[in-house]
Amino acid sequence: MEAASVNQPVAARPSTSARARDLLSKYGLIALLAALPVAYGISDLINDGNLSRLGENIVAGLSNGAIWALVALGYTLVYGIIELINFAHGEVFMIGSFVGFSLYSTLGLTLATGPLGLVVGLLLTLIVAMVTCGTLNVMIERVAYRPLRNAPKLAPLITAVGFSFILQNVGVLWEGGSQRGIPDLIDAQKVLVTVVGVSVSRADLLAVAVTAPLVFLLTTFVSRSRLGKAMRATAQDPEAARLMGINVDTTISLTFLLGGLLAGAAGLIYALYQTQIWYFQGFTAGLIAFTAAVMGGIGNLRGAVLGGLIIGIIQQISDNRDPTGLGPELTPAIVFFYLVVIMVFRPQGLIGEETREAG
């Protein structure tokens, strides 16, 4: 979707003040983002004498961030193509967790299952979860977004919120209103290898092992395949795309499908990582993932991944602060604060280019 952007006439060169402002906001944002790790890195050096705590936070942050990256990709794909924030995407992710858990407990996977059985079972669960969420996302598009495509932006936003509530209720009916602990299938916290004093656990490996191939497949698909080209064209200018013979409706559905697939995968990883599922997890996850998408640059795939990883790291560092007053409860507030700052001062994000209507 990198080309999903600029319609300014190529000839006009931005003025120096505009360029200066752009650079200032970009580096200002980077500085703000780096402030947290740097500050805590320094305090770690002072307190512990080494950076291992920071290193562990970064590792855990990367794996958490991989989950956010998958969900953020869903947001960014949809926004790039129809300029709509899919409010229900967080709940699709939640449903992915629920479906994943239900399936693997139905399959009878437990801690006692051997590694081969576990891998095969989880792979199957992954595929089912992805397909379910993809289908769910497509269905939401047909029912909530397509009839309202020409309505003012408020209408599909509200419908999406309505869907998000419906899905949350499905979660409540399915597993109840309180958090549901689930068995720790992969022994998530077991340390696999310790590198330079920083331990990498099984959960970290799982997150990266699932995310990296999926992201690679997605970016290849979008940039190389015909359908991917159709997606980019539709994102750039839907009417022109239509005139060129692209079936815009199908392309949009395809985009939602891809987003849903990724959310389903993210849901399963999250369930295995946290060993806990909750009907409300999608709401917070959705906001965090959206922050990640915006941070990287909405409409920009690489940006979404980058944003996800950065947000994951910031979250981990914030969670592991020594609380002199407020502890981890402050973390979502910090993430949302970053969201506000980005949207006000640099709505195009770190590396993203502007989408159709400049913000």
């Binding site: 909530a144 949350q168 006000v344």
Partner: protein
């Protein structure tokens, strides 16, 4: 026969139905027992009407999609929590600060101000908060405003939930996960002190009076220069700016006034519910109020009133009391309350797909919405643009 249309068009014809309704609504508590559950729901419904009118101003009149309205409710309720309870018991060397309260409250530690003073304080506090929340959104468009306001709503909610640890100078921001309680009962000069454990009627009439005042303000604003500026802003920002509408000031005024209504209602609810609990300050509440505005008709004052009353009763009465046992009677093993937010979401989806202009739409909005809907897809290109 020919006189009827004249009557309906005449001044009296427009006013009389409203007058009858208001009188009926004002008098109905006299026919109910003083602690009636139905009156309890009505009081809540009227408090939500005030809030919905505030949100209607921001979203309906000015077209600024605010998804964080709960922040204003929070500030209003917290104002009551700070100034009508023993939360700040350190103040005045444990003796407390008392202004205009009865002797019972006058003997308790903490800050205790008269309810009217608290309302004024809540208005000022929320108006400032509204302006501050509105500032970052000035340059943003539609859905981005939604996200930023949502983020603010979440930030305030979470700060309130951890509020017992935020205590500059020993004065806590809130009581954290536990509630600030008990809150002083409302006292209005020249009336006896209210007592919600024995008689709900004074609360009812107070909130009804608030609704009437807020309605009055709303109607006057809508027909004023500022109101027309808001509508111009909503319809086309660029055109409005070129016609001389001061964008920044107009937008900030919308946020501030809308927020003030939320603050008034929040302050009242804090006192009525006798406790201020940070757990209520969640996104779901913002959507609840937004749904009322949408159900009634964005930008339509009377529609909003109807939408608010309807949804409040559906949420507090229809679902828990009336429908709750229906599934078990039919043999199914769940309660309808477990479906409450699903039903809610479903109503939202249904409204937007079938009748996005709401029950009692404002005329302009109806035209705008019905023109663009239902034909999404490839065939629109072929239609001639009107």
């Amino acid at each position: 026969m020919s006189r009827l249309p004249d009557f309906r068009e005449s001044r009296w014809g427009k006013v009389l139905p409203a007058v009858v309704v208001v009188v009926a609504v004002a008098l109905f508590p006299l026919f109910r027992p003083p602690l009636d559950g139905f009156m309890d729901d009505s009081i809540l419904a009227l408090a939500y009407v005030v809030m919905a009118l505030g949100l209607n101003l921001v979203v309906g009149f000015a077209g600024l999609l605010d998804l964080g309205y709960v922040a204003f409710y929070a500030f209003g309720a917290l104002a009551t929590g700070w100034f009508a309870s023993d939360l700040w018991s350190k103040i005045g060397s444990e003796k407390g600060v008392h202004v205009g309260v009865s002797e019972f409250a006058g003997s308790l530690p903490g800050v205790h101000l008269n309810f009217l003073l608290i309302v004024i304080g809540a208005v000022i506090l929320t108006a400032i908060a509204g302006a501050i929340i509105g500032l970052p959104t000035l340059r943003l468009r539609g859905d981005y405003i939604a996200i930023v306001t949502l983020a603010f709503g979440e930030i305030i909610g979470r700060l309130a939930q951890s509020g017992d640890q935020i205590s500059p100078g020993g004065y806590k921001f809130s009581n954290g996960r536990q509630s600030i309680s008990p809150i002083d009962q409302i006292e209005i000069p020249f009336f006896n002190q209210f007592d919600s454990a024995t008689d709900l009627r004074p609360y009812y009439w107070t909130v009804l009076a608030m609704v009437l005042v807020v309605l009055f303000v709303n109607i006057r604003l809508r027909d004023s220069r500022l109101g027309r500026a808001w509508i111009a802003l909503r319809e086309d920002e660029v055109a409005a700016a070129s016609m001389g509408v001061p964008l920044v000031r107009t937008k900030l005024m919308a946020y501030a006034v809308g927020a003030a209504f939320g603050g008034i209602s929040g302050a009242f609810l804090g006192a009525y519910l006798n406790s201020v609990n940070a757990n209520q300050f969640q996104f779901g509440f913002s959507i609840f109020i937004l749904a009322m505005v949408i159900l009634g008709g964005l930008g339509s004052i009377w529609g909003t009133v109807i939408g608010a009353v309807l949804l409040a009763f559906v949420n507090n009465r229809l679902i828990p009391d009336v429908l709750n046992d229906v599934p078990s009677k039919v043999g199914l093993d769940f309660n309808v309350t477990e479906l409450s937010f699903g039903i809610f979401g479903f109503v939202l989806v249904l409204m937007m797909v079938l009748r996005p202009e709401g029950i009692l739409p404002e005329r302009r909005r109806k035209l705008e919405l019905t023109e663009g809907i239902g034909t999404g897809g490839d065939d629109t290109v072929i239609e001639a643009r009107a």
